[in-house]
């Protein structure tokens, strides 16, 4: 039964026609996948269903009746709940408060904290995530934030649930949890709109797929359509090799980490990354991978151990020293840590190189612009120009800006934390090729990724972390998904809690 229909939606932003007549029909009890390249208009489309944007033209029908969705409140009343690509949590508030945001349970006019916590515990149990509802959201990693977002949307008991790249930051285990929730909702007759760049998820969870290209719907196909065909519809050309890793000879160790530890977070972490090498760091969310990366880069302190970069020992907790030694970090949370959203693309791309481009206090701004234009071109960032505010870029294009910033800086050892999060299949291949170029010219790459096929496909060696410890190392030849997962969960029975 058809529940939601959008007809001829058109939306223009200054300088871009984001949607150029898009149609979409979603049935009750189906998972409808939206597929399209970065900037194709997926998020814009769903924002018009959730009341965040208003279409310039076209209309939306619910149960066959035209509806006007002017605000998020309208959408909620109509039973449409949305999980946005960029989080909408209040970082300072606790998980429980975020879950009840706007409609806290009341008693005698006061917030009923006890009921609020009970409700939170129940919702968190539904999505199967183990966090204390009193934890401030800012202290959760990005994956747990995503699970809290999902729990928040479930609390609305919606008839239409829209999810914009919910799996981008999740590991396999959590994706499975999410899928079982989605399947249950589908059986209950909820209509689900699901955006993802992970093609393998489409057959696993989807029923039908609408493909968007350049703001137009170019086709509606069943979810069991072969991946090649989906790619061709979406990109307009086939992609022959998903992981084009060219392995070379590993050289000198450029990054050496010995006995690194921080109380209660990770301990005794030792590894090295050699010139020309891509080392993958796999593990479950909460295993401590991001924490190790941040400590190595000087973003956080560590208690024990040593970090050596190209023979130098940057002081602990000192980002600038780490950078001067030749380290770079693409952080996992682009909105919170990677980008100045209100600044333009050129400014963001030049943030790391700005110090080097300064003479006598003055920044060489034209040089900076030139370098930015080059990187933007190299990464194929879809924009109206370098002066476009980063906030208005599509999610995947924002991610390219974060990566671009460090490409420009030409760091000898690059730590990539979920580098292809939210990036479309075509652009992923381009980023992998850039990684190839980096290693071919003697750089070293440490890549944290929750996308196992990516870790397996691109790494020369794979380190597996569990519960704050390195639990294994596999060569590219011997590593399999099952092998990595077995290591990642093996230690879970260990003594240390988190």
């Amino acid at each position: 039964m058809e529940l939601l229909r959008a007809e001829g939606l058109r939306k223009r932003f200054p300088g871009v026609l984001a949607l150029d007549g898009v149609d979409l029909t979603v049935r009750a009890g189906e998972v409808h996948v939206l597929l399209g390249e970065n900037g194709a208009g997926k998020s814009t489309l769903i924002k018009m269903l959730s009341g965040a944007y208003h279409p310039d033209e076209g209309r939306v029908l619910l149960d066959g009746r035209a509806v006007h969705i002017r605000t998020a409140g309208d959408a909620q009343r109509l039973g449409i709940a949305t999980i946005y690509q960029e989080f909408n949590l209040v970082p300072e508030l606790s998980v429980a408060e975020n879950l009840s945001l706007g409609r806290p349970p009341r008693r005698f006019g006061f917030v009923d904290t006890k009921r609020m916590h009970e409700r939170a515990v129940e919702l968190l149990a539904r999505v199967g995530v183990d966090v204390d509802p009193r934890t401030p959201v800012a202290r959760l990693g990005i994956a747990r934030m995503q699970m809290v977002e999902i729990a928040k949307a479930l609390a609305l008991d919606a008839r239409v649930l829209i999810m914009d790249e919910p799996t981008a930051v999740l590991t396999t285990g959590e994706v499975e949890k999410l899928f079982s929730i989605v399947r249950r909702l589908r059986e209950e007759g909820v209509a689900i709109v699901f955006i993802t760049h992970h093609l393998e998820e489409i057959a696993a969870i989807g029923d039908r797929v609408t493909v968007l290209r350049d703001g137009r719907s170019v086709g509606e196909v069943p979810a069991d359509t072969p991946q090649d065909e989906l790619v061709r519809l979406m990109v307009g050309r086939p992609i022959d090799q998903q992981f084009p890793r060219e392995r070379g000879q590993a050289g000198e160790p450029l990054l050496k980490v010995t006995g690194l530890g921080r109380k209660g977070v990770f301990e005794d972490v030792s590894f090295e990354v050699r010139a020309g090498e891509v080392v993958g760091l796999a593990g479950l969310v909460g295993a401590g991978r991001t924490e190790v990366a941040r400590a190595v880069f000087g973003a956080d302190r560590y208690d024990t151990g040593e970090v050596t970069v190209r023979g130098r020992r940057p002081a602990r907790g000192d980002v600038v020293a780490a950078m001067e030694a030749g380290l770079g970090l693409v952080p996992e949370d682009r909105k919170g840590q990677g980008l100045v959203l209100g600044a333009d693309i050129g400014e963001n791309l030049g943030l790391v190189t700005m110090r080097g481009a300064t003479r006598a206090g003055f920044v060489d701004r034209s040089g900076q612009r030139r370098a930015a234009a080059e990187v933007a071109e190299q990464l194929g960032i879809r924009m109206t120009g370098l002066a476009q505010e980063v906030r208005t870029l599509s999610g995947g294009n924002q991610q390219k800006v974060v990566i671009g910033k460090w490409l420009e800086a030409d760091a000898g050892v690059l730590i990539l934390d979920e580098p292809t999060r939210g990036i479309d299949v075509g652009a992923k291949v381009e980023i992998y090729q850039l990684i190839n170029q980096l290693t071919a010219s003697g750089h070293a790459v440490l890549m944290i990724s929750s996308d196992l096929p990516e870790v397996l496909g691109m790494s020369d060696r794979i380190l597996v972390m569990a519960r704050g410890r390195l639990v294994g190392e596999l060569s590219a030849a011997e590593a399999t998904q099952d092998g990595v997962m077995a290591l990642a969960v093996a230690e879970v029975a260990g003594p240390r809690g988190r």
Binding site: Y53, P331, Q337, G338, G342, A343, M354, V363
Partner: protein
Amino acid sequence: MVGNVFLRRSWLAENGALVALVVLVVALSLLSSDFLSVTNLLNVGVQAAVTAILAFGGTFVIVTGGIDLSVGSVAALSAIVLAWTAAVPGLPWPLATVVSLVVGVVCGLVNAALIAYGKLPPFIATLAMLGIARGLALVISQGSPIPMPDAVSHLGDTIGGYLPVPVLVMLVMGALAAVILNRTYVGRAMYAIGGNEEAARLSGIKVSRQKLITYALSGGFAAVAGIVLASRLASAQPQAAAGYELDAIAAVVIGGASLSGGKGRALGTFVGALILAVLRNGLNLLSVSAFWQQVVIGVVIALAVLVDTLRRRGMS
């Protein structure tokens, strides 16, 4: 063309304060025949000067996402220090001026140290400095005005009997602020820090050090404003410039800066300060009572920020 409409609309939105200033000037010149005379306009310039100089310093701070409530007090303290060191220990005036500027900068550094290392919210740290600097000004002067050295008092004069020096100082400080904000590392770092402090830090910007520079600049600009004000009056007064910090913040905000950081321009601030001065001058010419003037100015500030907020919302 549709594109043109957007261009025009965004130009208007970006330059709302300028448009408001033009409208204001046109309206006042219609309402009062005295308004558009050269003497009156220069008078407006002189009246705007002190606020504008304070506001240029304030723009740095607000761009980083902070706030500096101490600038009025620091201005008064710096002027008192100049006058006192020239009068009592009898320092030559250039040296006294340098000491006075240093005092302003040190006040800013103390603010920044409390904020960057003591982790105090800028509001609290500079509120404390507001009291401290004012108190010190009163202590040093024992509560009475001190005459400014003659040489420095010339800052209150005009060049060629025509161009008031305060206006010139304002323009120079404005240009300086614009260059710092647009061209220098320090300025660009201010925008990055105000836009996203964590992203700035992870990009290798030394946030604490940049904040020290930012508040020191604000203190230095406040000292200059204090000296200009005192030289106009030919004496440094411990109670001078009380409440000016609010006018300065208002000028910055009317000029389009965002109190949450990352946005703001020297030119906007300049226009903001002019709007306040033109409004006061015009209301005087129209003999509106001083009590009502406060009401009008309050309404204008609210309107300016409201328009800005609506504009931002309209963009999404």
